[in-house]
Symmetry: D2
Subunit: 337 residues, 4 copies
């Protein structure tokens, strides 16, 4: 009872508030002990869902007060490094929402800081790895039961995006998830990235040219095509079809209550990642809490994975302008073995 | 942190052990503070999953020690009354695994004891109400969007049962779930119960005559047929088709990873209630814990519901011998309004 | 080329006109050589789809003219006997739309007339037997691969019926199909029929009390429940779930183009038997034509099957008033072995 | 009766024999009056399924004998031109199995010969256009109900191929179908073709490097990716997912009898094109027969379509060696408008 993990949540926006509610209502062995949020209104709103949590404007103050055992970072990516570095400095375990940082250079600095500790302390919030269907697909790949994996055909579809969403965010905000989960599924890093442009969706914000088709080749020869589509109107979908030598597998298909009305059989689609990945988010936090309490600190993608994703994103952004862009990663430090 | 709900779990068999793990690993705001289990080996095994929990052979001792805020009963049904009565006497909130007690007479005694308190303290563990698809179906019924509900066509299929499973358990152990969830879905109590015998499954234990088809009429005219099948070999299934005036709905259908192999498209079935209802069990406990901590004490089927189910079971057992058997319930006490 | 089967179609209403178009446009080895229809307007309309067909008001005249090799009867059931008897008398092969005749007594007279010939000449138009999924289900039953069949759970749902549709037609016009196809699937005749009344559909014509649940027990112990529902608004459905000792099978489920729109995944339902059973009707006629041309004369349900269905309908109509009604059939004459 | 279309079938191999049986057994208004096949054993075997058909070694002799109203060509592609030219010369309507001829140069010669007639006489046997799901998808595209089409994501999977199947046949024998059906679905011709290589299937014949991913851009901007996979072992699949501005559609998904066995829900896959496209083949022939008898002569892809496919195949074969290869088609002659 007295050893509940005391989590300092940094950022009380949409994502942060969601995590605060999750930890308070559904996660075992953890409490939100601090909310770090300079925006007072947000901080107050979040506090009401985290009874007893202290409120801070800066992470350094929260750390100094000593009431935080671990840190969950839910601010936008460009603000991650200034939170990661002091938290690492204090030796605190961290769950950092994706991306690790805004680019590979800053991610490298974080890796360097982390390597001064005895072991990895950072887990990156690529929650798809905790989705049960993704996990089942990975097991199937590893089992070899259907032969070797040859292709992954992926789709990531959003009903709509705000006007602030720009062309690069197709890569950095959306395809970023595939850059993590595809190598994890296929057991091989990304070798090249290429972008193709289908007919433009006339319902997209004017400044966007989308959908895009992102094609990746992995080191082991697996070919991946990802349809990235952010104005599909009809629903939120994340689906993958895996093509094996002697079988096929598919995840992300319609499920749940089936209804017949007005001459149609139908199943409700998701409209947002919050319902599509509800189970994954819960399991991600619970397993991280368990790992921290158990001393492992990380049970999921680590900072090295986050760094590789940053490299892939840079290749992807470059590929928006054409060409087949290689992803050149240095050798993995033993620290992350 | 210090106000975690301290739960005394009574019974450390299969079900009790499962709940202990659940509370310890996945439930927010609660800990297992006591395990009541006369079998020392079981108690020891359970203790390893509930760090810090005290061990007792009798519920009375656990209560007297003062370390228990609420009680979760997971012993077989015939042992419920001797736990329920002292727990009620101590004014403790209770989550009691189904059934409430072994028959309607003992259930009535429990109701009488409970009515001495200020409000209902007992929740009965009919977990199906917490299954998301069941909940979605109930919403559809209540919305009236498809017109009035006219029929429910249910199936409850187990791969196999142990030799100790007897003919009456078809009703008391298995159909019992439908006796709770059907009136809840349809918004109307059970009026009559009847049993039909299909061709016998030659793979059933010799002393069983099953499957059976249980037909219920509800007070509002809704007709229900339940296929109860405990030796189907091929999987564990709980499914319902709801027939409305202008629509249809179906729950419990195959979901998850889809695979193609050997000339077939396929989806894995469940083989046990533990995976089929995993989400329901978790949500049941979390919502009960939240209700107790919030002072509501009950958020689900209460003791009155449990009593009605006991009456239906008695009618069902009688119906195994033939005839259309009425379920005669007294008026519901205001206490349970 | 010159040996196309010359078919005389009796009745040029909805069903007859449909068969005329089918034979003319899609059936190999047959032509419509005569249309027998007293209503001149109908006869003229039909003639335009059967180039070269002669027109008659009476079957006797068509037979006498000698231009008819076989007869297809598509007038309402009460007018079948007066067509069947002269056609049998002329030794012509016959495909008779269901039912054989309007009752078992008249059906018996037809059987007697047919038995004067060298072999069965009448095939009855229970087209479900020609539906590919029904055929696949029957194969599964016969294979024994899933163990013995124990139950059939059927549904027959129409979007709406005309005001002229009366209570008995629930049995004689609709359940009549199950009375043929269920024994054929299960390999055993019907022993008893019973009717249960669910909540009434308020959208039904005022004089109808429906849906009904028809329960049949077969001689081999298989139990069958049929939901008969004629005002469901949402679509036309004929579906069956077969429960085996170690498996399950289902036919009549949604198929075809899958679409995602407006937050829903959906598949179009049928709205009429004409599309639901299009393939079955075509195959029924083609196989009958082939059988006649090949000298077998019958390739499907025969007059004896039609007689058994008439007996079952009489039991079913009686069961509308309550009780478990036996179906007592005489021994099958060797003529139909 | 006397005006049945007399078809001369050229080629009595697998495909030809299948068409002979189809015309004889299931097609209305047509008979096989001649079989042209130099291999005597094949000719004899085929004759037994086409009673009354004359047998010839050369098309010219069949034409000269005057017993042929129309020609169906089912010999391998490299032998099409020598049959097409004399048949055109005789003014006969022709259904020519795909491809039109073995390359674009010879196809052009056929176009020139055909343009000497009063109107198009050749229909090419791209049967997918007659598949009901393809037709439904095309209707959806044309309706604009889901907005504009943006992408097509296709898969063509064969269980296995014979050793004689070579790398170019991936394009000329298999992707050839997409080259016809994709522009027809999307309402726009192919602009470029590109080929990507996923990880090689180790179960493929040694001389094949497959699967391949073929990427096409259409004139209207629609992007298409086709997974071409000829050693998948697990089944025969032809599937397409269409991505619209505000919706999604999918064809070629599992359908038919659903079974539950051994812990799995499953549906049988096709193992061959003969069952997958059975309905399409039947409808293709019936509609062609009707068109010929009605004087239209062609009701489906014509020789111009066949020529465009030949150009696309040449681009596709070139793309096997790398690069984005343009498909340059001349303007369509008014003759084919």
């Amino acid at each position: 009872m007295t050893n509940d993990l005391r989590i300092g949540v940094v950022g009380a926006g949409l994502m942060g508030a969601d995590h605060i509610t999750r930890i308070t209502d559904r996660i075992s062995g953890a409490v939100v002990s601090a909310v770090v949020e300079p925006d007072q209104a947000r901080a107050d709103a979040a506090a009401s869902n985290a009874p007893g949590a202290a409120s801070y404007a800066r992470i350094e103050d929260a750390i100094q007060d000593g009431g935080v055992d671990a840190v969950l970072i839910a601010v936008p990516g460009q603000f991650h490094e200034p939170v990661l570095l002091p938290a690492l400095d204090a030796g605190l375990p961290i769950l950092c929402e994706k991306p690790l940082t805004q680019d590979s250079t800053s991610s490298w600095r974080v890796l360097e800081a982390e390597q001064k500790l005895d072991k990895p302390h950072i887990q990156v919030g690529f929650m798809r790895r905790f989705d049960r269907e993704y996990a089942a697909l990975r097991e199937l790949v590893e089992s070899g039961d259907s032969g070797e994996l040859m292709m992954l055909r992926c789709a990531h579809r959003n009903p709509a995006v705000p006007d602030s969403y720009n062309q690069k965010m197709l890569i950095n905000d959306s395809v970023v998830h595939e850059f993590d989960v595809v190598p994890w599924l296929a057991g091989s890093p990304i070798k090249t990235v290429e972008v193709k442009y289908p007919r433009r969706n006339s319902l997209s914000p004017e400044h966007l040219r989308e959908p895009i088709l992102v094609i990746m080749e992995l080191e082991n020869g697996v070919l991946v095509d990802v349809e990235m589509n952010v104005s599909v109107q009809f629903g939120y979908q994340v689906a993958t079809e895996a093509v094996f030598e002697k079988g096929l597998a598919r995840i992300g298909q319609p499920a749940g209550l089936q209804t017949w009305r007005d001459g149609r059989f139908s199943i409700s689609d998701h409209m947002s990642f919050t319902t599509r990945f509800a189970q994954a988010y819960d399991d991600q936090i619970q397993r991280w809490v368990n790992a921290v309490r158990g001393g492992t600190l990380v049970d999921g993608p680590n900072a090295w994975d986050g760094y590789l994703v940053a490299l892939a994103c840079e290749a992807g952004v470059q590929a928006l302008d054409g060409g087949v862009v290689p992803v050149d990663a240095p050798a993995r430090p033993d620290f992350y073995a």
